[in-house]
């Protein structure tokens, strides 16, 4: 067994040379030894019995030292063939060491083919450890939280709270002084970016600096409280959480259809703003649906695991993608709460961590019960704003309930009501399309214009003939005031001999696609209650002209389902019935006709009629024919048609729906969507080990598995043990047990990581044996303990961190420490951190003054560069929002997984295909191009430019310098240096001179509007300045 004495003597010879005083300290198994064994040995001599060689385990001391006593008591007894490769206290007698040192290629460990050579230094450490008795210790992160005392420190005056004890103790040990506190302007910008993700207004900075001058600690604490109470705090920290939830607004894979998960996003913001304790936050997201009598909010919270992808591609095997979803839910849960790489155990027992493949699928069994099968599955209806609702007026709630009951009653009586409707139609037999009730009179247009240059000519009989214009023309027609109140307007399409194919439209075949019709009186929009047509191309109803969408509209071609005899190129009409009568005294009515969908499908010849009374429903020929079939003889298609037509005509129901909407609006709610939530099957699925991770190969030998947690961690509570099948609720409650070693550590570490750029455990996503050892293990446990003892309050944890002296240090580099601590593991200073993608935009938004503060609701579409969809299968209609929604925080930007908003991914936003616990941070030329040239960024620079001219008037050199100082205040919360002012002055003057000679260029660069007293060249030059400042490294960096 012992063959390599000469080599060992060589090692002894090395010892005195290599061991410095520092290193002669006792080795720590978890810090020094386990990483070596894990990396070099466990692959073949670790937990995985399938890949184990020579029946040797080195992860268990009994096996390694050949002590068979106690081995039998283990659940997985493995008796080594090689008894005792480690002889405690005798490195020179241990075969382990011999095999590391030998030069014999057949003997040497690790074998050359695994390509993991071991270093001399590592061999020394192992030897020293064996000499010291080869003590083993459980992996640090699996042990209970230590109840560490605050270490003693010398520089007591520096310490603000417990954190600083741990940091300073290590610094003092290395004889390093901490950095001085950052100046107050840096502090407020740092805290604002960290806690709310927005830049502070210059006035707020001024106030803080004054407060700070009076009492540093009080000012910092007050600012922390103020920021933690801001509703934007929930957005900022919600966004971090949404990374882990892999939240997106589309289904992923190739089709990538839209989904409405934003109520879940809103729930997260609300929960974080309310400081919902993290244990409850966990339970509601993992198992809100399994709570007794769950609230709607708790159901929405369970959407956490509905953020998985859905593959809508044709021919997919839904069971395959259901399994993908379940796997993702297991892996995400492991990563988010436990910092474990469970995914490794999907195909085989984990090579490094104590997670067997069986245990993986026992975890899988918790999530294998969902009733969604690669589809939408269970949903709840949520109104915009509902997740933020606070103490609504019970009266208003009562009214809403009533309105909902009324609707339910109508739906109950639907069959009866439809019969009555059918009878009335047959009685009227109004097939001439002159729906009864209206008395139409032609109205004379008084003003005609077209935005794309089409010539609109008034014809005899007050009709209008349109010439060729832009491909997406917008017609504006002002109608002569009527003598009495108008209830309806009729748009009449009239064929004309001069038009292609003698149609009413300008398309080659005579067709039109009218996408939106709007009516205004005195500039105010008039609400249309319903729109109907005498005829429409299938899928192109006149109702689409009032749905606000630009890609749907009214067209008149014939197609499948068109009644016989109906022609495209004939007279057709659309009726617009107003919610309230339009009074003649209100002035003329302006009609706007938009053709946004198909190029050149503009209307050619048309007229308007008005009626004081509303027309009844138009009965199309096809409908009449169907109605005349005796009920008993109607086919399924006939019945479907009648029901569909009734639904369209059912104004009673529409009124009930709009009453609900009104009642909702009164409470502060918008329109409703269905959002996906978790729901378990009534009859549980059986779960098996998937052999090699293949969902088609169930390990029936092992048999069906009972959901269970990892054996290496505390067991599930007894209540769960008694259940036939523990469920997600048991799992969630287990994760937030006070004695769970991982959840509080992982959570505290991730929070820490956001504030310092890296975690105390740098591998924030791997707390297993392959992960890195904490730089400050006692601090991590202290933070984790404080979190639990503080009732899992995240706000309390945030406040502790941002008020610590450690956090408040300056981030200036300390070159003198480059050799001792180049990566600043000891935190002898703060770190400069480039802000996340969303915050790049948010910072620019807040500096620009254009920021819309609205929180939550459906996703929005700010401008994005053209050509994003040149590479996607799915072409999204991306019409940039106008108005307030154009300037919303980046977290509300509609996120398509297959074609994300370019600014976001350019700045390292993940594409949310799977869990992201920590983002990478890169620094690339594409980022520069985006900040420098993106339309959305230029617009914000123009906003800041206008703001600067508004805030500081005058164009002399004093005023210009003052304006530059102001710009620095907005962008960096600080005063510029002289050199900076002069650099910017020179730039501004040169730009202004250039723009003075280039009126066109100046006009393009200047803001749309700006304060008086500046010419266009000056205005453009200030945009250039704003753009330059927003492109500096400092602008997108938290210092």
């Amino acid at each position: 067994m012992f063959r390599s004495l000469p080599a060992w003597s060589f090692l002894i010879a090395l010892f005195p040379v290599c061991l410095s005083a520092e290193e002669s300290k006792t080795v720590d198994f978890n810090r020094d030894i386990r990483p070596i064994l894990s990396d070099k040995c466990f692959q073949c001599h670790g937990p995985d019995d399938k890949s184990r060689k020579a029946k040797l385990r080195l992860d268990i001391r009994e096996s390694a030292v050949g002590d068979s006593t106690g081995l039998d008591a283990r659940p997985d007894p493995v008796k080594s063939e090689k008894v005792g490769v480690i002889v405690p206290g005798h490195a020179d007698a241990s075969e382990l060491v011999a095999r590391l040192l030998t030069t014999d290629p057949d003997e040497i460990m690790p074998p050359a083919k695994v390509k993991k050579p071991i270093s001399k230094k590592e061999i020394e450490l192992l030897s020293q450890w064996i000499e010291e008795g080869a003590p083993y210790d459980g992996h640090w992160s699996f042990r209970p939280l230590a109840d560490a005392e605050l270490p003693a420190v010398k520089a007591k005056s520096w310490v603000k709270n417990g954190i600083d004890h741990f940091i300073l103790a290590q610094l003092e040990q290395k004889k390093i002084a901490p950095s001085p506190e950052a100046d107050p302007s840096t502090l407020i910008r740092r805290m604002s970016l960290d806690l709310v993700g927005l830049l502070p207004e210059p006035e707020r900075v001024k106030r803080f600096v004054a407060d700070y001058g009076r009492d540093h600690d009080k000012a910092v604490a007050a600012l922390a409280d103020e920021l933690l109470a801001s509703p934007h705090y929930g957005e900022r920290w919600g966004r971090h959480w949404l990374d882990q939830a892999r939240y997106a607004d589309s289904n992923g894979y190739t089709i990538d259809g839209e989904r409405t998960m934003w109520p879940y996003r809103d729930w997260v913001i609300r929960a974080i703003n309310d400081d919902l304790p993290f244990d409850q936050f966990t339970i509601e997201q993992l198992a809100g649906d399994l709570l007794p009598n769950p609230t709607k909010a708790q159901l929405v919270a369970s959407g956490f695991h509905r953020n998985t992808l859905i593959n809508q591609e044709g021919g997919t095997d839904n069971e395959q993608f259901r399994n993908e979803e379940v796997v993702d839910r297991v892996n995400t849960t492991g990563a988010v709460w436990m910092g474990l790489t469970l995914g490794c155990a999907q195909c085989h027992t984990h090579k490094f961590d104590p997670i067997t493949q069986k245990e993986y699928f026992e975890m899988f069994a918790f999530f294998n019960q969902g009733d969604d099968v690669n589809n939408v599955g269970a949903t709840v209806e949520v109104s915009e704003g509902e997740m933020f609702l606070r103490d609504p007026d019970p009266k208003l709630l009562g009214a809403l309930d009533q309105a909902k009951a009324a609707l339910a009653a109508l739906d109950r009586d639907k069959v009866k009501r439809q019969e009555a409707w059918e009878k009335s139609l047959i009685a009227n037999d109004n097939k001439d399309a002159n729906a009864p009730g209206a008395s139409w009179a032609r109205v004379k247009p008084t003003k005609l214009s077209a935005e794309g240059g089409a010539k609109l000519e008034l014809q005899k009989g007050d009709s209008i003939l349109a010439g060729a214009g832009g491909p997406h023309e917008v017609y504006r027609v002002e109608l002569a005031p009527a003598k009495e109140a108008i209830t309806a307007i009729r748009l009449k399409l009239i064929p004309h001999a001069s038009l292609p194919n003698q149609g009413p439209g300008r398309a080659g075949n005579g067709n039109i696609v009218l996408t939106r019709v709007e009516f205004f009186q005195n500039g105010k929009p008039l609400t249309v209650a319903r729109a109907q047509h005498d005829h429409a191309q299938p899928g192109f109803s006149a109702a689409f002209t009032i749905d606000g969408k630009t890609d749907t509209g009214w067209a008149i071609n014939v197609g499948k389902g068109t009644a016989p005899g109906v022609k495209m190129n004939a007279e057709h009409e659309a009726h617009y019935v107003f919610a309230e009568p339009i009074l003649a005294s209100g002035g003329p009515v302006e009609v706007v006709l938009r053709h946004e969908a198909n190029a050149n499908y503009n209307i050619g010849h048309f007229a308007f009629d008005v009626s004081p009374t509303a027309p009844g429903a138009v009965t199309e020929e096809k409908l009449l024919t169907t109605l005349k079939i005796a009920p008993a003889d109607r086919s399924d298609a006939d019945k479907k048609l009648l029901t569909a037509e009734f639904d369209k005509a059912d104004s009673e129901r529409r009124a009930a729906v709009s009453r609900i909407a009104e009642a909702q609006k009164a409470i502060g709610l918008g329109s409703s969507v269905k959002t996906m939530v978790m729901r378990d099957l009534a009859t549980p699925r059986e779960s098996f080990i998937h052999i090699r991770g293949d969902f088609l190969r169930h390990d029936t030998e092992t048999g069906p598995l009972r959901p269970n947690v990892l054996a290496a961690l505390p067991a599930m509570p007894d209540s769960a043990k008694e259940k036939a099948l523990p469920n997600r609720l048991d799992l969630a409650q287990w994760l937030v047990r006070a004695d769970h070693p991982l959840t509080p550590r992982v959570t505290a570490n991730r929070v820490w990581m956001r504030y310092f750029g890296k975690g105390i455990v740098e591998t924030e996503n791997d707390f297993g044996t392959q992960g890195s050892f904490p730089t400050h293990p006692e601090l991590l446990d202290w933070l984790a303990r404080s979190l639990i003892e503080g009732g899992w309050s995240m706000k309390a944890l945030h406040k502790t961190i941002v008020t610590s002296a450690t956090y408040r240090q300056s981030s200036m580099a300390r070159p003198e420490l480059n050799d001792i601590d180049p990566l600043n593991h000891l935190l002898s200073r703060q770190n400069r951190i480039r802000v996340e993608a969303e915050i790049v935009r948010d910072a620019a938004l807040s500096a620009s003054g254009l920021f819309t503060e609205k929180i939550g609701g459906p996703g929005v579409k700010p401008p994005q560069p053209e050509g994003v969809y040149a590479f996607t299968q799915r072409k999204v209609s991306w019409v940039a929002a106008e108005g307030p929604d154009r300037y919303r925080r980046a977290m509300y930007t509609q996120f398509y997984r297959s074609a994300p908003y370019p600014l976001l991914t350019t700045f390292d936003s993940p594409d949310f295909q799977s869990v992201c616990t920590g983002r990478v941070r890169s620094n690339t030329p594409l980022q520069s191009l985006t900040l420098a040239n993106d339309e959305a960024m230029i617009e914000l620079a123009q906003g800041l430019s206008a703001r600067l001219m508004q805030e500081i008037g005058g164009t002399d050199s004093v005023a210009n310098r003052e304006r530059i100082r102001r710009a620095f205040g907005h962008c960096f919360s600080r005063e510029p240096s002289e050199a900076e002012v002069e650099a910017v002055v020179a730039f501004q003057e040169k730009q202004m001179a250039g723009f003075a000679a280039d009126a066109e260029g100046a006009k393009a660069v200047a803001p749309e509007k700006w304060a008086e007293g500046f010419d266009v060249a000056a205005a453009a030059s200030w945009t250039a300045v704003a753009r330059a400042l927003m492109n500096t490294d400092e602008f997108i960096t938290r210092e």
């Binding site: 894979y253 190739t254 392959q770 040149a870 799977s914 990478v920």
Partner: protein, 480 residues
Amino acid sequence: MDPLLQQTTRRHFFERCGLGLGGIALSDMLARDGFAAAGSPDRNADPMATRRSHHDAKAKNVIFMFMAGGPSHLELFEDKPRLREFSGKMPPESLVKGKRFAFLGKDAKLLGTDRKFARYGESQMELSELFPHHRKIVDEVCWLRGMKTDVFNHGPAKLFMNTGFQVPGRPSMGSWVTYGIGSESRDLPGFVVLQSGPRGPRGGNALWSGGFLPSSYQGVPFRGNGDPILNLASPKGITPERQRDFVDVVGALNRERLGVTGDPEIATRINAYEMAYRMQTSAPDLMDLSDESQATLDLYGATQGGNSYGNNCLLARRLIERGVRFVQLYHTDWDHHGGPGQTLGKDLEKVCAEVDQASAALVLDLKQRGLLDDTIVVWGGEFGRTPMGETRDNKVGGRDHHIDAFTMWAAGGGFKAGMTHGQTDDFGYEVVDGLVHVHDLHATILNQLGLDHEKLTFRFQGRDFRLTDVHGHVVKEVLA
């Protein structure tokens, strides 16, 4: 190309490239950098700096012509008389037992092809009438007839071919390669993606994603005409001179801050702005085909300002010439199931006509310019098509997705010219000899670039990830 912008760029580049930033020690190495090439320059300072490979490289660059949708090997590359003979009959039970298909029913019958095949060149490679231009390159190309993949849906199968995994979120081959050895281009991205055909490839950006690698390594889509890169053009009203002033003042302010904070990251940012500025010149320069001869344009079937596959193949050569490491082309519309727009008749003929000439032209042009030795050219789709016909609209007009056998080809970069590797059974159903799995293809391409597919790793979520997962063998037989 604006001459002023070009002039200012050049002048500026030469003045500033020695910017005096070299003295700053850039020590903040990526903590989880699993790539252990010794003496590698700092990734943060210049992610695309060229890095030493694991072993001597046979090739420098890759052009991957991806035929999205899955071309039919049975219509293009493999004549199967037995399949014709049994056309209309049920396939033998042994072939289809336990197999899964995307769309085929249990009653799908074998379908022979009417396409005419002949053998060409010294290598006597078999080609169908659909690929007349490929006849010119039969002796330059290594034909891989034994390809095999794992997945039968487009999205996952494309991900598999591009990233080695079926699920999104892993780095694509181009990302791995630039991560491994950087790129020689200083003013263009190292990994460029070009697309042609009626729509983008299914799977979208996940196909050229950098996955968990730093985002510097993700593929940069270039559009075939107009501004190739998003946000490449300066904003309206910003002339080249103003853009230069802008970059200068931003640089000056950044240098001020660098002086105050001492953070080397700012030096990286300054470099990034300079490179971005150079890209504003070099990218339009790349797209401007006016320096190409008419003969070259004709060879590819490319036109100035065009947006065709031919243009993209020519751009691929121009990118390689400028030092770009990896060019990924996609051409869509190869999904011939039968039914409208997807028949093996005129629809297949159309897409073949779109790619045949330019694919061959690229190989010939690279060879003529002496670039083929350094460049691996790969051609193929995410899978092949079934020997059984697929019925759509009551007509047998297409074939379903087939994962067990299909054909790809590779040229240059040390692949054996004129070799036919691999063989399928009489129906083109299974590989009987010379099987090359997708993982093997990946391993082989990396090998030619001097990279060991087992060593090129990145630690993510506790695991050392590879392009080849835990599989893959270098296919030595196909290497010269």
